[in-house]
Structures are given as structure tokens and as C-alpha cells.
Homo-oligomer: 316 residues x 6
């Protein structure tokens, strides 16, 4: 585990000794021609920058994205932000045994809690085919589902982000089925749980969201639509089952429009609603995280994923 | 009041005697050159078509959109649909005293219930400026707000549609503020209540949604943004009050994007959420009303307001 | 079989006696209120219109799209076009035994010839995984593949259209791999053969191109991408085989852009080329069929599928 | 006042002593890690760059955008452009008493002349309601209207730009009403005068075009539409006056299309014409200022506001 | 010449005897199967409809678009509009000698006046190359230029519309060069005069705006750009003359953007201005003609060419 | 000629002595304020970077884009790429006599071969007018046509690129006319040969693809359409010849859509096909050149001209 206090709590003049994760390592060259690395280091509480001057080829090969390092450094203020001034760095044996996940931000709700809420939802499903398909997926990806982030950079880009996004959407879905009682609950909740599971194949790992070959060539939506059918076959659900088609449709259409990456447009009301719930949670998470860094009475930094808008944080 | 049974319950071979509202009257000419009127007649239970043959210029002037008529007619089946075959029609004194509203479809919730939910929401608002502005609007349009439809043709196009749409949106808003606790409740609920009040100026009356001069030249959004400022001034709320700006912004931005008729894009999180809640309720109401007329296992008629999609009604 | 001469060869004043297929049956009503059917009747040589006056409800139920009828009628000219004036119509036992396919337009190349060209192409493939997947599909849909049309209305909308479109595309693909030798031949030819096979699930039957439930909810592209994976599994091709991903990608991206219905954009050069070859053959077939009906020196009717353009047929 | 000669007239090797305005101050860091400020300094004749090396935190806080400074510096040529090499800088008492406006570029026509042309136009208006509303606005913003720029960066971005843009548009409007006599002169001229007054609320001040809170949340168009109504009420013009609606419409629609920031599309001919006149003057001013810096026979720098086009300056 | 009074002045119950032009002739069929022609007949004052019942094939061949007919008919009112009830129709020798132009609407300014204004503008040009090219075009198309309409259906769709549109644009151009003195007058005025001359090749004739083969295949813009070069060569203006390129550029870019049919975007300020002047005159003419048919206080019919907007005609 | 081995074959530690072409020369300034030049130097085998430190104004004037230089320099590795470290540079008399063309990349097919294939195609044309026009162009631009590149940066951006692109397109065209026999061969092949000849006027020279004045103001498409007419006139082909119009149409429409720079949309089938053939060859050349630099199993750099896609290079 990272230092108990966490990098976020250090102040100008402090000395840091402990472990941090390399989130990114970018090569640069001084005007004098010397190579250096700009490292972004993190633990679960936050990020800090550090320059690693006069690096060798070997250093560049060692200190890469995803490695945990052991480190001694001074904390300085530079242009209004804190940074580390390196004294010592190495990849100790202790560091090698640590898990990158432990140095990353996590969802604000525990895995157990997320798991319980998913399980209970599945348990209460009435339709046998839907329930068994959804359960089968959660069993198949029992580890990954509760560790992966929901997106690479924009929303829910943290450990357990996928499950946290899913559970938040389930809560919205449940309040909406109370308001719109004609909705098929099983279908809607199953759509919520399944819609982004394909990201487990799209990202390289829970801590590295670089896209895989199939993430690029196929995309999480067609991968998942195909896997729904495969799982149904394994469960001996009949070939032309309406449930299987509907679940595939929920997955295929949840981005809403072709130009937003949807393979189909929603053609059942549950699919239309799924798309809107997904939208709400993605946007509210993105804006919320940005406003946390904004002072009341001011406009935030521009948010690329939201048409580059700056959001205002009211004083009231 | 229309016949207690309601036009929807008549069958082929019945005779209708009673009152109906002219919802539309369209002139036609037979291939023999004779003028006639195609009337769409309604009561609160539904619509029926009737031809009025050999009309005079006087008839055309009398039997217009919005009039209640007294009528005797046979109910016939023609190309799979029922229609009336006219025997007698006149605008009796009894008809003149009736209210068009009573012959139109109504929201499935009573005015009292809608009113109570609105009032309670306002009563619980913490911010004085916001509460007094919203209350002032509900008092000012105490009659209209609970009678107007929310749209001319697409969603909530029935008596009390505006208040019903508003109350449904409030329910969604309340469940979402429980999920996203950083939301400013007063601001969001006030935005929900105020967002469409300008339609009272945009439509000619609760039973005639033809656009007024100002409905066309100004539109309900700028009309309402202007009126929020006017009301704030009457209530002696200070000129540069953040609350007034925020409420105006909620109204101005609730259509989301300029190309969807929004005068601003949402720049506070409550405005972004208001837009999405409005979207959900408008779409769910539109799809829901269409699926009511669709058989399970089939695709609905195309819905123009939803990119001309046909929605599927599952068998499960 | 339809009359050996074929409906296209009848002239004003002739009498037709024989069998025709009902391609479409549309209900109408005379100004006097009498119901009738406008029938579009065809054999393999062409179409002709016929009115069926004073139809009963029973007639409407019997004489539907896809039925073969036995018929006696006069051939008349009306507004510059020939039409049939009905004398007798019935669905005889002889008619019931006939196949709708025999009364529809066919590809200008025989099934045998198409089959040989496909088989030879598969035989010459070097890559085992690709060859066995493609062969498996052709065996699985051995009948359908050589009977289905390639589209409902626009291009290759005739019996064997799918196979004819595929073979023409193969010919183009082969000439282009000679010009661009870096192309992977197996991959490109496999993409050509597989790209539209999903239409077999999208259309109700070879003679009825109404979309099925899954044709609407899933679409031929995701259906096929999923089936490629399923077939690969049955053939015990390893799970992460690059070949399977590449073939799925060819299918998913062959419409080029999301707004043209593509689930992915092409990301390998063979996929980009497949899209362009598909485009060439679809457009040339559409324009060619329109120009056949256009006089030299004049502009054709507008072609909806080609941005509503009128094409000019040169005199030279 | 700035040095009588003006910064534009200095040459390589000269020494500057006097006052200049800081138009922008940007922090930088040398490769050796030392902070510095890049200052853009101006008087009414033009701009010049100067580096302020080795700045303290206090310097960064003092030397900000909008301050007038007293300064001694050498004029040097660097990469083909002149720049100042600082010897001494301070914010003297004399500097503090100077007005930023005096160090900025001004419209090429005097305030008096602009004022006279506006007054005469208002004096000649026939319609009482229109004349009194327009006069009321000019009295209310008598100072600001003749000092503010018309835009932040693109066109008429100089002192009195708003009034100069307005008067130029009035001249165009007057020549067009001679050509199109059906135009309502009062309405068109009133639209010209009022259309951009809301920018007084949108910009922080005449010399600082940063957007205000309401400039962002509401925008100059809805602000102004609302204020037209408020002024009409103060003048006791009747509530449903057509004149008030028409003036509001002129303001709301003058950007032409929603995607260009218009709250309404123009629905009266005077509004359509207002939009086109605004366009002409904005574009001609933008191109004209760019061509001033371009040599004959060459293409100008790219103009972002005009679709990034480079304009050619002919030799003839 | 058409009847001195003009068709516009006839009333219900009158009898018309005289000559009219067939503006359009559309075939129809009665519900009884009888062919008829719907004729739109005109003289210079306006249009009227007439049915020609029971036509023969010969009639259909004779009574076509562009023919002048001699006619006796009653004037009746039908559905609020006047129409003619035919008694006698024939193409008399007198009719054959008449010119279709005389039966069409004309520009409100005489040819002589238009010609003088064009000539004077050319006479005052300073640049020899520009003046001689423009003069050469006006001489080459001395008849056509003063007879052709400027468009087929939208704006200035009347005899002399091209010259009238040109002269109105010249008036605007002259008032704008007074306001923007940096404009090159010769270039701008030449651009105005030449910009639409290619329509003489695009339309079949002054009275028949059906597009020619080259009107379709090439379009008036490339045709004209090519002809400018040809004329310059005939005048022995040197090959790389800047004037010729600039004039070609004015023609090529006058539609502003590619999606509006422009072969280039404007890259000189005179071209940008030409586009905007063309726009003003086209739109003002279109709106003006529509508002002539609209009552004050009402909204006009929708104008397709202006994004389907309905324009309001104020009461003031 | 450049060094026989070619710059591509040098390794770290080698010394280069010989001639190279300056492909681009960009001024920079060190953080110490010293001016330098970043040179991109090339021969026919490839490019290499070199810094030229402490340059004088005279050096900047001498060492410009397009010059051949004589040079002695060490080959070093820097950040994974080779670069030259300058020892001596001068523009020797030997260098002045060399041709820039010889230091640039060339088409992979010889000029003679390209010329033969063009000539044979022209020789086989049946239509006299088409053959004589095309031959006339090849004679007129006999040198340029076989030297110019086909584009500035994207596809076929090398010596003889224009002819190579043309010949490759001819091969595709010939294989397609075998598949679609209704195509007019002469028209299609003529369109292929003529379509990009206007680029000879658009680019400054074969080795400098900066756009000329007319390249910007007119563009290669209208320039060429105009020249086709001019050549036809010189050959005394009759004025309204369909052939001339068709050839002009081929040129005007070969970019397909207005938003892609097309002056017309294709309205003959040969023009539609020409556009698609052009597209295929431009895209295949662009992707092919990018994949040459990509390792199997990886994704390429993003290709701006192809919607910024990264292409995958399969392992199979």
C-alpha cells in the first residue's frame, strides 16, 4: 500500500519517502541536449509531477507507465503547483510485489457493496432467460467487472469505475421504473448490467486502458453483442429466443445514434431509456469531478467531452 | 359533459346522440365539384371522423375548430375504422355553454393532486429568492398552468399536460438529487417548474395550440427568461442576484443545444440535468402513447419526433 | 413457369391467359366509396398493373403480396402504359404449386456459374482458418446464398442478387489485387464473400424482403459478425485468432462510416477496399438499371439512393 | 496620454521613455527555471512586445492586464520585429491616474460625429413607441455606448467600436431602404441601434472584454431582449404592443441561425436585412484590417473568423 | 399583346375572350377514367387556372407549356379562387405570331433604363482590361441579357429579371463602395454584371427555364468562368493577366460556399462582398414578393428557398 | 546525382560527404537568443534532419527550400532517429548545376513505361473528338505531365506522381470496363487522363507544390474545365459538341461532392466511376505508404487525410 497519509497531503518543504505508481513517463530533452523523463506519479489520493534528469537508455526502459517505484524526494512549489525534486529512485523488490491497482483512485463505494447491489438485482429478476444470462456474465467476469474502470479518461476513470457506474445507473433505473411502470424491469436492469461489460475486452487491463487489437478492430459493443449470443447458446436458451435478441439490441443501441458509436438506434423503450440513463451518469460524473476542482463563483476548466464547455459553480 | 359512455365505446350500427367537440375541420371537394367538410370530432375518450356533405359557405364559417356541436349520427365501419354518418348537426344553446376542455383528453392525474405536489415542492425550498419567484409564477398562472398542454402535438398534448409533465419531471428530479447529492435541489426543482411556463404565451389557449404572434416572433424560451427578470424586479430581489441569473439560465438552456432551439447551452450542472430530465419525460410519454396502440410482437407506426423510428413492443 | 413469352412481350389489344405473381396489392376506394385492389403483377420478364374492382373482404385477404394467381385479362393502353383489364382471377391448385421465385427477375448469370466462381475462389485460398470459415458459411447457406437478393429495393433486388453482387465484387477484387499486390488476397476475397450473408437473416425470405424482427433489432452486420465467431468456435479455431478478428472487422466496417450504417470504420487496407468495391458495384448496378429505361440524349428519372440525381445518357 | 509620437513610430536603436498600457501579461519560465513575464504593451498607435526577466511573485501580482506603466527601454530588432529591452519599469503615480482607454486603438471617427449621426437618426423616427424606446437606451448607456468595442477580438475590437459599427450599419441601412422602399425604416434603424447594446453587459468593461457571469450564462442577446421589454414597461408602452415584440424579435434574431447564436430565425424582412447588414460590416472590417497588413500580390494570414481563409490582395 | 385590361382584373361572372400563354399543362384523369388537362394560363398581369376536360391525344400534344392560345371562357369562383370555365380554345394564326414574353410578368423597370444604368457603369470603369471584357459580354448577349429571368422559380423569375437583379445589385454595390472606400470599384461592379450571365446558357430560353444539357452537366458558374477566359483571349488580353483571374474568381466564388454551389470560396474582399450583395437582393426580392400576397398582421405562406420560414407582415 | 548509396543507407557514426536537396528550411532561435536553421535534407532514397547553428542573415537567404547543397557532416543518433551534425556546407558550382528532381523520391515505374501506357490508351480511342483532345493535352504538357506529383502532401507526392497515379487509374478503369461493358471506354479513359492535369497550373513547379495565385483563386478543376474548351476550339471541334461537354463534366465532377471540392456532382455513369477510381488509388497509395512504415501486428500513425484513422497491419 502507498504511504498511509497519501501524496495529496504533502506540503512545500516536506520530504517524501515511500512508493508511488508511474502513471505516465514522457521523454524530453533539455535545450542543452540532455534527455530527461517527466514522470506523473500517483497513489490512491492523487498525482504529482517529477522530473528525472540525465536519464540513461536503461532508465528510459525501466521507468515506464504502470511500474511501482520506491523513491526519496523533496516536495517543492513551482508555478503554484507542488512537484517532487528527486533524490533517489529505484524499483525495489518491495515495489515489484505491489499491485498497481492499490496506487490508483478508487470508486467511493466498496466492491462488496457494489457486488451486493448487483447480486440482489439479478436475484429479483423474473425472467429466467434474462436472469441466467446476466448471472452467467457476472460469474464469468467476477473479478474484472469489479475492478475495471468505465472509461479511459472521461468518466468513471478509476478502479471499480465500471461496477460503480453500473450500480449508479441501476439506482436511476429503479427510480424510473417506479415512475414509468410500463417499462420491463428485467430487460432494463439487464441492459444496465451488460451494456459496458465489453470494455473488459476493449482495455488492455484494469490499470492500462490502452485499447487492445480487438478493442480497436471490433469495439466493445459488437464484442459484447456477440458474447451475449455465445452465452445464451452455452445456457441452451433457444436460438430464436426474443430475450436474447432484446438483450443484444440493448447492448448494440446503448450509444443512441450511429454518429455516437451506436451500432443500432434504440427500437424498444427500454433501450431508449438505457441510453439516457447512461448519458446522465457519464455526464454528471464528468461535471461533478470537474466542479470539485473549481471555486464557487467561477467557471471551470473546459471539458472536452462536453463540447468544450466551462461550467459555472454557483455561490448559492 | 360529453355522453357518459364516451365515443370510444360506440360500435358499428349504434346511433350517437349528444355533444362532441370539433377538433379539426378541413374543406374538401367531391369529384363532382361539391364542397364538404371532413370533421374530426372528439370527447374525452377519443376521436371519430365524420363527413359533412354539401356544406354552405355559412356552414364552413360556423363549424370550425374548437366548437362544441350537438349531433345525431349513425356509427358505421369504413375501411376498418368506425366513422359517423351524419343525420343532424347544430350548435345548440346547450352546446354553446359547454367548455371545450371537457371534450379533450386529460392527464391521468387530477389537477388537485398535481397542484399539491407542486405546492409542497415550493414550500420546501430553502432559498428565499428562488422560492418567492417560483411561487409568484404559480400564483400568476394558477389557472393556466394546470390546464395547458405541454406541447402542440408530440408529447403531453392533452389537458393539464403542462402540469403533469412538470410533476413527472419533479419526481425524476427528486430521485436524482438523492443519487447526486451535490445538486442544488432548489435550483433544479425551480428549473423544472418554470422551464415550460412560457408555453402559456406561446399557444393561443389551452385548447388551441396554434402559435400566437409572440409565440412565433419570440418563442416561449426568451419570453420566459424575460418574465423571470420582471417577476424578480416586482419582488424587489436585487438586480444582480445570482439566483435570478441562474433561473434565467435554466430556462434559456433547457433545450440543450442551439440546433434544438436552446438559446444557451447548459453551463451549470443543474441545467444539464434539467435538459436530460425533460428529454426523458418527453420521449417516454411519446413512445408510451404510441406503444399503447401497438400489438405485442409488432413494430409501431413511425414516430416523427423520434427520428421516424418504429418501436418494437416485446412479447415478454 | 410463367407463360413462355412473358408479360413484357404483350401488346395493346392482346388477351393474357396464364399465371402471374402478385408483387404488391394496395387497397383503394373509388370516389363512390367502393373498395378495390391495385395489383402489381409480374413474371420473370417484367411487371404490369391491374385494377381489381369491387373486391370483398375475402378477396382482400386472399390476393396478397407473394401469391401466384391464374388469370384471364385484356391488355389495354392507358396513359401511355399497358395495363390489364381483368376478366377472371383465381388461386388455382396449379397456381398454388408454383414457386414465387420463378415469377421474379433473375440475375443475368446462372446459379451454377455463380457457384463455380465462388467455389474456385475458396479453393484457392492459402490461409486455412479463413478458407474453412468461408467454406463453412457457403455450405451452411448453400441454398439461400444463391437465391436471396442483395437488397430490398435499390441494387441487385432480384433472385440470386446476393450471389451475383458477390461474384461481380470478386471479379473487381481480383483485378485490384493484381494492381495492388500488397493486399492480402484471402482476407479481401473472404470479406467479399461474407460481407452481406447476414441479409439472409435480415429479410423474411428470398421473395419477401420485409425485415424480420432481428433484421430490425440487430441488423445484418452485427448478426454476421456474431456468426463468424460462432462458426470459428465450431471449427475449433483458437479463441484469439487474428483471422477471426480480421474477418469480423471486414464485416463490421464494410459500410464505411457510422452514418452509413457501419459498426466500425475500416482499419485495415483490405476493409477500406472492400467498402469501395461494394460501393462501386451497388452504384453501377443502380445507375445501369436506370439508364436502361432512359433514352440517349436525355436525363433519367431521379435516383433516390444516389442523392436524387438524374443521370444523363450520352448520345455518343 | 501616451508619448505624442506613438510607439508605432520608434525604430531599431531608439530609446523609449514614457507610459504604455499592459494589454496582456503571460508568465513563462526559462530553461534555467527562472520565471519571467512576456508583456504586450500598447498605446493608441500600436503594440510592442517586451520580456520582463527574473520577476518576483510581487511583480507578477503588480504588472497585470489593464495597468498603465511608466517605463524606460531600448528598442531592438529581433527576428524581423521590434521589441523593447527593459531598463526600468514601475507603476508611478502619474501612471495610476491615466485612463486605459487612452492607450488603446480608437475608431477612425470621433465620438461627437458618431453621437450626432445616432441622434439624428432617432430624431427622424416616425413611430412614437420605437423612437422613445431607442432614445431611452441611448440615454441610459450614453457613456458606455460610445466607448465599448463591438467584439472581443474579431471585428471592431477597439474603443468606440460598438458605436462605429452601429453608425456604419446605419449608413448601409439607409442606402438599402432607398433601394427597397417597402422596408419599415424605423424598425430597421432601431434594430441596428439596439442589436448589440447587450454587449455592454456581456463584457467586463470597455477595456476588458472578458465575459461577465451573465455574459456567459445569459448572453447579450437574451439580456437585451429582456431589457427592451423592461424599458417599454417603464415608458408605459402597452403590454402587447406590436412594436415591442418586433424590436425584441430584431434583437433575438440578428445572428440569423441558431447555430450562429441566434435565439430565433428572422421572421420579418427587416430582421433578415439587419442580419445581413451586420454580417457585411463585421466581415468587411475583419478583412479590411487584415489586408492592411498584407502586401499587394500576396495572400494574407489566415483569418480564423472567416473559415480560416487567406485573402488575396490584388496588385491592380 | 394580351387583353389590355389583364386577367388579374376579371371578376366572378365575367367572360374572357382573348389570348393567354400556357405556363404549364399537367395531365390528369377523372375518377371515371377520362383524361383532362389542368392548364395554368397567364398574361403579364397574373395567372389563372382552367380545366380542359375530355382531351384527345392530339390536344395533349398541341396545348403545351409555352404556347399562346386564343380562348373564350367564363370566370367562376371555386374554393375562394377564380378559375376559367372553358368554352372554346384554339391556337389561332394570330396566337402563333405572338411572343410568349409579352404574356409574362416583367421587371418593374424598363429595358432602356436597365441598359442605360449598365452602360454608364461600364463607361466609368478605369481599368482597361476589366472594362473591355465586361463591355464585350454585354455586346455579345445584348438581347438575352435584358430578357432572361435571373432564376427559374425563386427570385427575379420574370422577364428582364437578370438585368433587373444586376442593376439592383449595382446600386447596392455603389452605396457600399462609398462606405468601404478600399474596395476596388471596377472589380466589384464587373463581378456584379458578369456573375449570372452564364444563366443564359443554363436556361433553355428566356421564357423556358428548363435546364439545358450543359446547364445540368456544367452549370452556369463553370460555363461563365470559362467564357471569361475565352473573351479575354479574343481581346488579346495577356494570358496571365491578374484581371482575368480576378474576374474568373468573382464568378467562381459568388455562391459563397461549396455546399451552396460555389466552385471556390471567396478569397478577395470584392468577391466576399459580391456574394453578400447577391444574397441580399435574392432574399429581399423573394420575401417582398411573398409579403405582397400576405395580409398585415399575419404570417405568409412558407418560403421553401428561405428554410421554409413564414414571414410576418407587421401592422405598423 | 546524389551519392550512389543514398542517405537512407547511412548509419550512426558514418560521415556523409556529398550533395543533398533542402526540402525545407525553418528558422528557430535558441533559448540563448541565437538564430539557427532546421534543415530537412533529402536525396531520392529518403530524408534526414540537420541543425545549422549560428546562421547569419545571409545564410538564411541562401539556404532555402529547393536548393541543392554540398556538405560534409557526421551521422549521429538522437532520440532514436539519425541526424546530421554539420561540419561544412556550401552551395558549390557543382551543386548549382544539379536538378532538384534528382534528389526527390520517384514513382516506382519509369517515365518511358508510363508514357507508353498513356500513348497506347490514346491510340486505341475510337471517338475522334475525344482522342484528339486528349492527345493534344499530352503533347502540350509532354514534359510536365510526366514529372509533376499528383498532390502536395498526401498521395503520390513524388516525382512522376501525376503520371503514375493516372496510369494506375487507367489499369483499374480497364479492368472495370471489362466487368461493366456498358461503360463508354473512350470517355472513361479520357476522364482518367485529363482529370488532374490542371495541377500543373495549381502547383508552382514539379518540385515546389506551393499553390500559385491561380491555383488558389481558381483551382485545378475550373482551370482544366476551361482549358478543355479552349483546346477543343483550337482543334475546331464544333461548339456544342457533346464530347466537349462530357469531358468538361468528367473534370468538373471528379471530386464527387461539393463539400469535397467538386464543382458538379457526377451525372453520367463514367463520371461516377471516375470519382470512385480516383478515390481508390488515392486511398490505397496513402495507406500503402503508411503501412510500409508500420510493423506487422501494430497500428500505424494516424493518417490525417483518412479521418485521422490508424490502420492495423495484420500478422497473417
Amino acid at each position: 500500500m502507498a504511504d498511509a497519509i497519501g501524496i495529496k497531503h504533502y506540503k512545500n518543504g516536506d520530504t517524501f519517502e515511500g512508493f508511488l505508481l508511474i502513471k505516465s513517463a514522457t521523454k524530453g530533452t533539455t535545450s542543452g541536449g540532455q534527455p530527461f523523463l517527466s514522470l506523473k506519479l500517483s497513489d490512491a489520493t492523487g498525482d504529482i509531477e517529477m522530473k528525472f534528469w540525465n536519464v540513461t537508455e536503461q532508465d528510459i526502459a525501466n521507468y515506464t507507465n504502470g511500474k511501482v517505484v520506491e523513491l526519496k524526494a523533496n516536495v517543492n512549489e513551482y508555478r503554484g503547483a507542488l512537484q517532487l525534486q528527486m533524490q533517489q529512485i529505484f524499483i525495489s523488490d518491495a515495489a515489484k510485489e505491489m499491485s498497481a491497482e492499490d496506487f490508483m483512485e478508487k470508486a467511493p463505494v466498496s466492491k462488496i457493496e457494489l457486488q451486493n447491489e448487483i447480486d440482489e438485482t439479478i436475484f429479483n429478476m423474473q425472467n429466467d432467460a434474462i436472469r441466467s444470462i446476466v448471472r452467467s456474465f457476472i460469474e464469468r467476469y467476477n473479478h474484472e467487472f469489479f475492478v475495471y474502470p468505465a472509461a479511459a479518461t472521461i468518466h468513471h476513470a478509476f478502479i471499480s469505475g465500471l461496477a460503480y457506474h453500473t450500480v449508479t445507473m441501476l439506482r436511476i433505473a429503479k427510480s424510473l421504473t417506479a415512475i414509468y411502470p410500463d417499462m420491463n424491469k428485467d430487460l432494463l436492469y439487464a441492459g444496465v448490467i451488460l451494456h459496458d461489460i465489453g470494455k473488459i475486452h476493449e482495455f488492455t487491463s484494469a490499470t492500462d486502458t490502452t485499447r487492445t487489437r480487438d478493442g480497436n478492430l471490433l469495439g466493445h459493443i459488437p464484442i459484447m453483442a456477440s458474447e451475449v449470443k455465445e452465452v445464451a447458446k452455452e445456457l441452451s436458451i433457444e436460438k430464436d429466443s426474443e430475450e436474447v435478441s432484446l438483450l443484444q439490441h440493448m447492448v448494440l443501441s446503448h450509444h443512441g445514434k450511429p454518429e455516437w458509436g451506436s451500432a443500432r438506434t434504440p427500437l424498444i423503450q427500454e433501450a431508449e431509456l438505457l441510453h439516457m440513463i447512461d448519458n446522465i451518469d457519464a455526464k454528471m460524473n464528468t461535471i461533478g469531478r470537474t466542479l470539485e476542482k473549481t471555486r464557487a463563483g467561477e467557471f471551470s476548466e473546459k471539458i472536452f467531452a462536453l463540447d468544450n464547455r466551462s461550467f459555472y459553480k454557483p455561490l448559492i
